[in-house]
């Protein structure tokens, strides 16, 4: 039964592609158009991940695409005051800001901004015209179009997204913020692409905030490719804060070269259905990867974090920590896979997943995996599902802290383990505050932002 629906959804999407092919290619650039044909062929082979796909065991993708969703292939004019968004900023950092509206880069002035130190950020489509050699070299170079149907779908439909290029030796001293906004009069399918390139010995920190500004249903299928060249350093903080009717399918691909260091921190505060795929390839000696995640889910929200750390070369380190609190009828899944390839000796890989279930209807499935083909390694994983420590709660109660407050304090402490990994201090404080509000049941939108995103 489900199989027939899957085939028809797949056919529908392929049809959508074929019938809009001119519109898509005309509004795009040769570099982005180049990969489309093979991508749609791959998608036609792969389809959407179904229940038999072990990686999607706990998340049903097909029904998401059966909703009636509007698709458009060129940016639509939507007027709203850009100043409002600026106030959503993380205070006291003075970040450079990139805005994306429904998958299209929204320029303040130029579509590409070049800072004094040579750093370039802006629209991916624009960059593929202005800097075709850089973009075509890296675009679609690490995303898995052959094994992942959703990525192939993205590649076929992609129009725009954010491009960040950090030249050799450039160290960015303030974070760059990408704000992804969803706003529409109709239910909307959005597919965009981010490309982040760090040249040798460069360093950058990027903050990504996802917001929905109108109450329509949104389905985002987003691919981010990150290339970290030798000795580069990247910190990526992603904050997901969309409303309950929104779905986000995020695919992050990271290619780390010699001695590079990449840290990702995904804070999922809100969202109807979130699937985060994180794929890290440690492709040369000395790489260090840290992947952190925090998810706070309630109502009927669903979160599924999938991570795949590929230790392809010796002397690399990876460290994963994912923590989550599930309230009401929320469901969660974690699937972390660590692969240590033959001869990837001296590997150190650690992974932990801790979960709190607050109600009888909340549900958590966790599946850590180690696959190891080298012997001189230190690898471990741990996973727990449980509830708050009653003794700790009692301890606080005996000291005059009310039961509710005591539980809150414990949860905040639990969540802080992830938040404290963020090295940008004002951001860390800000996210701590958001987590705090979220756990107190207050809507966790940025409180100085006038927009009622959630």
């Amino acid at each position: 039964m489900s199989k027939t629906t899957n085939i028809s959804i797949k056919e529908e999407l392929v049809d959508l592609y074929l019938s809009n092919l001119d519109l898509i290619t005309d509004n795009s650039t040769p570099t982005l158009n180049r990969g489309r044909q093979s991508a749609i062929e791959n998608f036609n082979l792969l389809g959407l991940p179904d229940a038999k796909n072990e990686r999607y065991k706990y998340s049903k993708i097909e029904p998401l695409f059966t909703q009636d969703l509007e698709k458009y292939f060129a940016p639509k004019d939507i007027t709203f005051k850009i100043d409002d968004i600026f106030r959503c900023d993380i205070p006291e950092i003075g970040t450079d800001l990139a805005l994306v509206l429904n998958g299209f880069y929204l320029p303040k002035g130029d579509k590409l901004t070049k800072l004094d130190n040579g750093l370039i950020y802006g629209s991916l489509a624009e960059a593929s015209i202005k800097y075709p050699e850089i973009v075509s070299k890296h675009y679609n170079s690490i995303a898995d179009n052959v094994g992942e149907g959703l990525v192939a779908l993205n590649t076929a439909f992609v129009q725009d997204g954010v491009f960040i290029y950090v030249p050799k030796g450039v160290e960015m001293n303030r974070p760059l913020q990408i704000i992804n906004l969803l706003m529409s009069d109709e239910n909307l399918l959005v597919q965009y692409r981010n490309l982040i390139i760090l040249e040798e010995s460069s360093s950058a920190s990027v903050v990504v905030c996802d917001h929905s500004l109108s109450s329509q249903k949104f389905l985002s299928n987003v691919v981010t490719e990150i290339v970290a060249k030798p000795n580069s350093k990247l910190e990526l903080v992603k904050m997901q804060n969309e409303h309950n009717d929104s779905t986000q399918l995020s695919h992050v691909y990271i290619h780390q070269q010699k001695d590079s260091k990449v840290t990702t921190n995904t804070i999922s505060l809100h969202g109807g259905f979130i699937r985060n795929n994180l794929n890290v390839l440690l492709d040369d000696a000395g790489c260090e990867n840290s992947s952190y995640g925090l998810y706070l889910m309630d109502r009927n929200q669903h979160i599924d974090n999938y991570s795949f750390i590929d230790h392809a070369k010796p002397h690399c380190t990876s460290n994963e920590l994912f923590k989550g609190i599930l309230d009401e009828q929320a469901t969660g899944a974690f699937n972390g896979r660590i692969l240590v390839r033959r001869d990837a000796q001296q590997t150190q890989a650690f992974q932990a997943n801790n979960n709190l279930l607050l109600t009888a209807d909340a549900k958590m499935n966790t599946k850590p995996q180690l696959e190891i083909y080298a012997d001189d390694v230190k690898c471990s994983h741990g996973a727990t599902v449980g509830q708050l420590d009653l003794e700790a709660k009692f301890y606080m109660q005996t000291r005059g802290i009310g039961e509710k407050e005591a539980m809150l304090l414990l949860m905040i402490g639990f969540a802080h383990d992830v938040v404290k990994k963020i090295t940008i201090e004002p951001l860390r404080e800000r996210i701590d505050e958001l987590v705090n509000k979220r756990l107190r049941g207050e809507l966790s939108r940025c409180h100085n932002c006038p927009m009622h995103c959630c």
Binding site: N365, P368, Q369, E371, I372, A374, V377, K378, G386
Partner: protein, 481 residues
């Protein structure tokens, strides 16, 4: 140093399989292949009643609709199910007198260290010896029956205790369960049956010894253990097979039912022929083992030492249905040369205050692959369920693989589930420490591995523990990573 270690590793891993001989005994063999007629023939040979044949046929028809599972981390060559002999029984000269065992058979089992002569046996050990498709001899049956314990071959049980069989057979592993269990339901030939009545503590260890002897045969035995309220039994299982170039299929089913306050301990030392150094031959061990803690406060524990078989696919599981019931899984799995193992457990928490405990120790050497795959599932009604799992892997050599695939599914907020896994090799500092104190590298490795596996070995009954320790040494003697 490294060369020395490699050399020692080589010596160890080339340790010979001691049980690879063939007994020359007259065997009753049916033609190769599988069909309804074959199922009927097996049933007729066993002199089974009509209802048993019906059960087999139902299973066989269902099996035809199934496909062999491919989800395990194993490379299983195509198996031609028509190229297997589904029934082979050594001829017993006078079937009415159990004293008259073929001397060849007696000798075989003596060679394997299983004397069938009760006088010679250590007291406290009753054995059901199964060769190929049939039970050769069950010792101490009389002594046990004084306590009301039934311990006999499955064929006898079907003849003599049809009520119990009808009630419990396939109650834990239904005939539709999985490809291999369904195949087993259709063609199972023999196995052990054990019934412990209410309030009885079984005075001796019960044990089944499985031996494959005939060529080209598959072995499909079925074991059923029923522990009535307040009873206790400890059950052991051992297995060996001759050295052959061909692969032989072993697809067994073990079912355990534990009622109120009952306790069942099931220990396995699995030492089927693992194939030679180049991965030629060996047994495919595709086994379904499951126990159900049906009663309150009941307890089932699985302990396994897996050293044999070319391919192992085995997940001894516990369904914790009764309130306060407890499931335990202790495993040491060793793979060497070209062996592959995908083994683990399932703990299904259904009752309130149920607990489970999993210890898995994997050791891989040579070019083998060793996976732990386990599921801990807490259902909605399982208040205060508790699980702790620990899965450690030890790698000896840089061409082998060790993998962990735990699944944790929790649907109740009062459950506490913990899982931890580590993978490492024997530290050079550990070996150096032992060397310093005058131990050779080989001894040091033996010592460390034994210490590593001790937590599980300690759970084995004493005689078995000694055997298991020796086995571990033979399988890996001198392996240094």
């Amino acid at each position: 140093m490294a060369n020395d270690q490699d050399q020692i590793l080589n010596d160890v891993t080339s340790g010979d399989y001691k049980y690879g001989f063939v007994t020359d005994v007259e065997t009753d063999i049916i033609p190769k292949g599988l069909s309804e007629d074959v199922v009927r023939l097996i049933s007729a040979k066993k002199g089974e009643p009509e209802w048993m044949l019906e059960f087999r046929l139902k299973a066989y028809r269902h099996w035809l609709t199934m496909e062999m599972p491919h989800w395990a981390h194993l490379e299983v060559p195509e198996i031609d199910y028509q190229d297997i002999i589904y029934f082979a029984a050594p001829r017993i000269k006078n079937p009415n007198s159990s004293e008259e065992i073929d001397p060849e058979l007696r000798e075989t089992f003596e060679k394997l260290g299983i004397p069938l002569n009760e006088q010679k046996l250590l007291s406290g050990f009753a054995v059901d010896a199964v060769m190929d498709s049939s039970s050769v001899k069950t010792t101490f049956s009389e002594t046990l029956s004084e306590h009301g314990i039934i311990f006999c071959s499955m064929s006898e049980a079907i003849r003599n205790h049809p009520d119990l069989i009808k009630k419990y057979l396939a109650s834990v592993v239904p005939y539709t369960d999985n490809f291999f269990a369904t195949l087993n339901s259709a063609v199972f030939s023999d196995g052990s049956f054990c019934y412990i009545p209410k309030g009885v503590r079984c005075p001796m260890e019960l044990s089944t010894y499985f031996r494959i002897n005939a060529a080209n045969t598959g072995q499909f035995e079925r074991t059923l253990i029923i522990a009535e309220a307040d009873s206790y039994v400890s059950y052991l299982e051992g297995c060996t097979a001759p050295v052959r170039d061909e692969n032989q299929l072993h697809a067994a089913v073990v079912e355990i039912v534990a009622l109120d306050n009952a306790e069942v301990k099931y220990s396995t030392v699995q030492n089927w022929y693992p194939g030679d150094k180049n991965g030629k031959g060996g047994i495919y061990n595709f086994v379904t083992k499951r126990g159900i803690c049906r009663g309150k406060n009941s307890k089932i524990s699985w302990t396994q030492v897996e050293t044999g078989s070319a391919i192992t696919w085995k997940y001894p599981s516990c369904i914790l249905l009764g309130d306060n019931s407890y499931g335990e899984f202790n495993s040491v799995a060793v793979t060497n040369n070209h062996q592959q193992a995908d083994t683990g457990t399932k703990m299904i928490h259904i009752g309130k205050n149920t607990r489970s405990h999993i210890i898995s120790k994997g050791i891989s050497a040579g070019v083998s692959n060793n996976s732990y795959r386990g599921l801990v599932k807490v259902l909605k009604g399982a208040e205060n369920a508790r699980n702790f799992s620990q899965c450690d892997s030890l790698l000896l050599g840089d061409k082998c693989g060790a993998h962990t695939f735990p699944y944790i599914e929790v649907d109740n907020p009062t459950a506490i589930v913990e899982h931890e896994a580590t993978t490492s090799k024997i530290g050079e500092d550990q070996i150096f420490y032992c060397n310093q104190r005058g131990l050779s590298t080989e001894d040091a490795v033996g010592l460390i591995i034994n210490g590593y596996a001790k937590e599980v070995l300690n759970k084995l009954p004493m005689e078995f523990a000694v055997e298991a320790q020796k086995l571990l040494q033979i399988s890996l003697e001198g392996s240094v990573g």
